[in-house]
């Protein structure tokens, strides 16, 4: 195993998330194949890892309570560089981000798994880039997000 892959997340989705954000394309492809070949796929709850990771990094960038306009600006920036912005519709992304940051009354009903996963991963990636995190720091952050999700009672799918 590559030394930069030490202290990796333990779940399939966590490893995929780490690989994509850290820019480790080869490892990301391996994890994607493993996810696709699962005999017992994880539920949508798996994507909570991305949401927790996003919220954790967002609070590092914006130390005070963020304005909704700052969330919107980040989403606009992320969509502008996305090849498939239709996988991250603006209103859905805003609702998810605000919900992940703890706002109680935001309507996140009916948002698809693809949109949920894309939004969490892409926003987390933008923030990791802004924070100039190393691959190891990204891995550590994903591991923390995994633990938070596990404490919610969500079972993660492992290799």
């Amino acid at each position: 195993m590559n030394s930069k892959r030490q202290h990796l997340p333990v779940s399939l989705w966590g490893r995929f998330l780490y690989a994509r954000i850290a820019g480790d394309l080869e490892y990301g492809d391996t994890q994607a194949r493993a996810i696709r070949s699962q005999t017992r796929p994880g539920g949508r709850e798996q994507f909570e890892i991305a949401g927790h990771l996003f919220a954790m990094l967002f609070r590092q960038v914006f130390e005070q309570e963020p304005e909704v306009s700052e969330i919107d600006a980040l989403i606009g920036e992320a969509r502008s560089v996305l090849r498939t912005p239709e996988h991250m519709p603006f209103l859905e992304a805003e609702a998810l981000a605000r919900s992940w940051l703890g706002e109680p009354h935001v309507d996140t009903s009916g948002i698809s798994s693809v949109v949920t996963a894309t939004t969490g991963a892409v926003l987390a990636a933008r923030l990791a880039k802004r924070l100039r995190l190393s691959a190891r720091q990204i891995a550590e952050a994903v591991v923390i997000a995994e633990r938070e999700v596990e404490t919610m009672g969500i079972e993660l799918v492992l290799e």
């Binding site: 909704v68 519709p89 209103l91 859905e92 605000r98 706002e103 009354h105 935001v106 309507d107």
Partner: protein
């Protein structure tokens, strides 16, 4: 335009509000008179309800609270609360770029927004603030010419032609019926 009894819909609505007749105002005339009515009543009610609110979080909380008041039979029609929230933010804060993100689901979003508006009307009837809302309707009409984004959005929902002249005469009738600044029941 009149309601068949020689009275303009706006005057009828205002009379119902002043009489505290919730049933008569629970379904605003928007469904009967088309999208321009819908837009006019929506703008007046929303601008009044959210007159002291600008923070998107507070708008979301308020929308959530209003939706919780929607009668049980209509709950399943609340399909686009997220989009309705965005429409209201655009109206209250002028966040016009939000509207382009609403278009894909605009039909259900506007339905939700109308249900929210209806419940604002019910709250107005119960609070007895009908004159203030009537003034808001007149103000909203006066502002239409300068801010036509809402009408453009409505074009997506309903291709029927606007009935500008009819609505204009009804708003004039309402404006004429309103008491002077010192004669209203509210500030």
């Amino acid at each position: 335009m009149n309601d068949g009894n020689g009275q303009s819909p706006l005057l009828g609505l205002w009379a119902a509000m002043r009489a505290g007749d919730v049933a008569a105002t629970a379904l605003p005339y928007c469904h009967l008179q088309g999208r321009l009515w819908s837009a006019l009543l929506f703008r007046a009610a929303i601008r009044d309800e959210f007159r002291e609110v600008s923070d998107p979080r507070h708008i979301t909380q308020r929308v959530h609270k209003i939706c919780a008041m929607v009668p049980e039979a209509d709950r399943e029609r609340l399909l686009a609360r997220r989009e309705a929230d965005a429409i209201i933010r655009a109206e209250v804060n002028g966040e016009l770029d939000l509207i382009q993100h609403v278009h894909d689901s605009s039909r259900s979003a506007f339905l939700t927004a109308q249900l929210i508006t209806r419940d604002v009307f019910v709250a107005v009837v119960k609070s007895g603030h009908s004159t203030r809302l009537a003034r808001r309707i007149v103000e909203a009409w006066q502002a239409f010419g300068d801010e036509d984004w809402f009408l453009k959005a409505l074009n997506v929902v309903d291709p029927r032609p606007l009935m500008t002249d009819d609505v204009s005469s009804d708003v004039r009738a309402l404006a004429g019926a309103l008491p002077g600044p010192d004669g209203g029941e509210m500030t």
